[in-house]
């Protein structure tokens, strides 16, 4: 296994980066984060239709491009770098991967094309208030009904939960505990008994919602497959993809800080000529590059179905959380008072970093998981 990019992968990255530079500059980010919907449907159509990113890791027979997590992570790095307001993480990373890893083949054939085409926006609702990221903590009940299943319960921190019109919900059969009885359920956006409420978030470039489901009709997916292992694979891949987005954001913060340090004059010289700033930036670079290496290695491992994938996912997320928060805090610091103003862009990436650092589990959680998996492998 190697994890240097091929020329083709670098070309792919270049295409995504150029597209986002042209179509989703920071002015567009600011417009979308203040908008009702939180993202621009035209941009989303471009991401799906022109670039085909919404199907990058989907097999060709399901309408995708047939690439792997490595390519998905390249896209994620660029989305993180550009801080793109789009439901890519919710729909492509979470919902699409969930269908790939958990749903039956027929369900995939039925549900994936609309997501891949960008015609529908999916999301995954598994975590509930309090924020235990494991599926086993799920309390949402799935009760059999005459015409399928009824769901009852709450979901929280649902990424793009208002923008999504294809909801995948994790629920459990009555009386089940732990990993037993868990399943993935499809809920229509207009289903009776579904109440969605937007949550106020510190990162307004990525929306979240709370869901309340009351006797809400739903359809079980992947009844023929093992939910637990599929969900674990999904979470590993989503975690790596999130970490990729985070290191992309960290690179953007670092680049902005370096650029500013070269331009900003104090005491008759650019502040980057002071060791206090220069050495801080050197350490930021090191930390960001280490996290990037961890993310890329994890993505390559996942594509190779390496037995260490779960451990490497925790590795990537823990390092990406620390590196991106460090980059965010220090980028504001290097910008000084200007960096604390609303008009300066640094805070947009700072807020994403702050939020992503805890999304899917914070660094301490993933460090503990890393050691637990190390022990389990011994």
């Amino acid at each position: 296994m190697h994890f240097g990019y091929t020329d083709e992968q670098e070309q792919f990255r270049g295409i995504v980066a150029r597209f986002l530079r042209e179509r989703a500059p920071v002015s567009a980010v600011r417009a979308q984060m203040a908008s009702e919907r939180g993202h621009d449907p035209a941009l989303w159509r471009g991401i799906a239709g022109e670039l085909g990113l919404t199907g990058v890791h989907v097999p060709e027979h399901l309408g995708g491009q047939g690439f792997g997590l490595e390519e998905l992570c390249i896209a994620q790095e660029e989305f993180g770098r550009a801080l793109t307001c789009a439901p890519f993480f919710a729909s492509t990373v979470l919902a699409t991967t969930a269908l790939l890893e958990i749903a039956d083949e027929a369900e995939q054939e039925a549900l994936l094309p609309a997501l891949v085409a960008g015609e529908r926006v999916g999301t995954l609702a598994w975590v509930e208030q309090g924020g235990d990221w494991s599926a086993s903590a799920c309390a949402m009940l799935a009760t059999p009904a005459a015409d399928g299943v009824r769901l009852n319960g709450h979901k929280h921190y649902v990424i793009d939960g208002l923008a999504a019109d294809r909801l995948l919900v994790v629920a459990r059969t009555p009386g089940s505990v732990g990993n037993a009885g868990l399943g993935l359920y499809a809920v229509e956006a207009d289903a009776a008994g579904l109440v969605r409420r937007g949550l106020e978030t510190i990162d307004t470039t990525r929306r979240q919602a709370a869901l309340v489901l009351t006797d809400c009709p739903a359809r079980r997916l992947g009844a023929g497959r093992d939910f637990t292992s599929g969900f674990a694979r999904l979470m590993d891949r989503a975690t790596i993809a999130l970490a990729a987005e985070m290191v992309g954001g960290a690179h953007a913060l670092l680049d902005a800080a370096v650029d500013y340090a070269k331009l900003r004059m104090q005491f008759g010289r650019p502040i980057g000529a002071f060791q206090a700033i220069k050495h801080k930036l050197a350490e930021m670079l090191l930390e960001v590059e280490l996290a990037t290496a961890a993310v890329r290695y994890a993505a390559a491992a996942a594509d190779a179905n390496d037995a260490e994938t779960s451990l490497l996912a925790s590795h990537a997320k823990a390092m990406a959380s620390d590196a991106s928060m460090r980059a965010a805090v220090e980028a504001v610091q290097i910008h000084g008072g200007i960096g604390f103003t609303w008009d300066n862009d640094t805070h947009l990436w700072f807020k994403r970093a702050r939020s992503s650092a805890v999304l899917l589990g914070d660094a301490a959680l993933h460090r503990e998981r890393y050691i637990a998996l190390t022990e389990a492998a011994a």
Binding site: V127, G130, G131, W133, H156, Y157, L199, E200, T201, I202, D203, Q208, A210, L263, R264, M265, Q266, F267, G268, R269, F274, A276, I277, V329, V332, Q333, G336, G337, I338, G339, F340, T341, W342, D343, N344, T346, H347, F350, K351, R354, S355, A357, V358, L359, D362, A364, R367, E368
Partner: protein
């Protein structure tokens, strides 16, 4: 440590003041009228000189005097905001004319002030400002921009540091002025911060005018005067803590004082959050059940220890000062340690809050307080001197380490500097 015993002077002064208060203090007076009485009597600023609204009493008597005011619930002169920085600066560097025109209305609360030092191009390098004041034969004409100006939108007067000589070395080309903020050439705009608040302002000067008699000290002495203002800034933070809380009493004069405090304190509303709210960490670790996580316990212990030790450091500094000993390094360390505490607190709050750390407002822990902490904390290590500047100060002034080579000597005109910020 022995408690200082009560001096005969204290007894006399207390008796005199008690009598004066008994004769004059009335709850249903207007706040301004009462304060004019205080100014006339000298009891408002009893440690100020007799010729300038004071009684020339030693500073050591102030606690006793405050106690007498408190005993009857009497309101004091206006003490919060930038005004006492202005008063201290004018007392030290102003002409008699300045003192006559400005001091009384500072103490009465009728005038509010702001400080116009920082600029977009000169933050850490405060002496590198490029706002210019040019004398046209009768008055000074000011052009440029200032930043981080608290309460500029309320202020009647501003303490202005402006460049009057571009050929002098940078610290010697500055002069100091009192500028009327209510004039067409002065535009004040709120400056929104990353935490959503707009506690500061940008101030733009376009041919704004300062009459010749509003210049403080001589042309070229501006930096020296500004240093006086800055030296009082820390005391001002103490004043905010001490006098920034409204009295709970009923009555006209209290109502008026409450309104004044509410206005002045508005920009400082999020300051406790920028300091990280260490006080919330332990209760939240308990109430969320996160106290059971050993990783949380380690980080929480580090935070609590750091925070308490920093208080003890401050106490040691105060104790040394009170004992008349030379102040140790503790004083200079306070600002830097506050940054460490704030950053650590934000990390601990995020660790405790977990997924909830993503949320804000009413959906989030402590009704948005945690989110506010997470988004306000970067201010601590920047405002009032960045951590980097503090480490320089500690290294050079406390540890007596050699200075770096200068790259900003010679005529200011020739020093590389930032281009002007476009006016958006």
């Amino acid at each position: 440590m022995s408690t200082p015993s009560i001096t005969p002077e204290e007894t006399t002064v207390r008796a005199e003041l008690r009598a004066w208060l008994a004769a004059h203090w009335q709850v249903d007076r207007s706040l301004v009228a009462w304060r004019h009485l205080l100014v006339d009597s000298g009891w408002g600023m009893p440690h100020w000189p007799r010729e300038w609204h004071g009684r020339g009493l030693p500073v050591a008597l102030l606690p006793a005097i405050d106690a007498e005011f408190e005993a009857v619930g009497a309101v004091g002169v206006a003490r919060i905001g930038i005004r006492l920085l202005a008063a201290a600066t004018l007392l030290e560097h102003g002409s008699d004319d300045h003192k006559r025109r400005f001091l009384r209305r500072i103490l009465s609360g009728e005038d509010t002030w702001c400080q116009l030092f920082s600029e977009p191009g000169s933050g850490s390098d405060l002496a590198g400002g490029t706002t210019r004041a040019e004398f046209d034969g009768t008055r000074w004409v000011v052009n440029g921009q200032k930043l981080w100006t608290t309460s500029a939108h309320h202020a009647h007067w501003g303490l202005l540091l402006a460049r009057t000589d571009w050929d002098a070395p940078k610290h010697q080309g500055l002069s100091f002025f009192v500028i009327d903020m209510h004039q067409p050439g002065v535009e004040v705009r709120p400056l929104k911060q990353m935490n959503g608040y707009a506690s500061f302002n940008e101030v733009f000067f376009t041919d704004a005018v300062v009459p010749a008699n509003n210049q403080v000290a001589n042309t070229g002495d501006g930096w020296k005067v500004a240093m006086t203002t800055l030296a009082h800034e820390r005391r001002n933070a103490d004043a905010l803590r001490r006098w920034g809380h409204a009295s709970p009493h009923a009555g006209r004069i209290y109502d008026e004082e409450r309104a004044e405090i509410a206005t002045v304190m508005e920009p400082y509303r999020w300051y406790p959050q920028r300091a990280g709210r260490v006080d919330l960490a332990l209760p939240r670790a308990r109430s969320t059940g996160r106290m059971a996580d050993p990783a949380v316990r380690q980080e929480l212990a580090k935070l609590l220890m750091l925070s308490r030790a920093s208080e003890w450091l401050a106490q040691r500094a105060r104790h040394a000062k009170q004992s008349g000993k030379p102040e140790g390094p503790e004083g200079s360390l306070g600002k830097l340690v506050a940054s460490h505490v704030a950053r650590a607190a934000a990390e601990v709050h995020a660790l405790i809050s977990g997924a909830d750390a993503m949320l804000a407002g009413a959906d989030s822990p402590e009704n948005g307080m945690i989110a506010e902490i997470l988004l306000s904390v970067p201010a601590t290590s920047i405002a009032g001197g960045t951590d980097e500047i503090q480490r320089n100060i500690i290294g050079e002034r406390v540890l007596d380490l050699p200075r770096e080579p200068r790259t900003d000597a010679g005529p200011f005109r020739d020093i590389p500097r930032n281009p002007p910020r476009p006016r958006g």
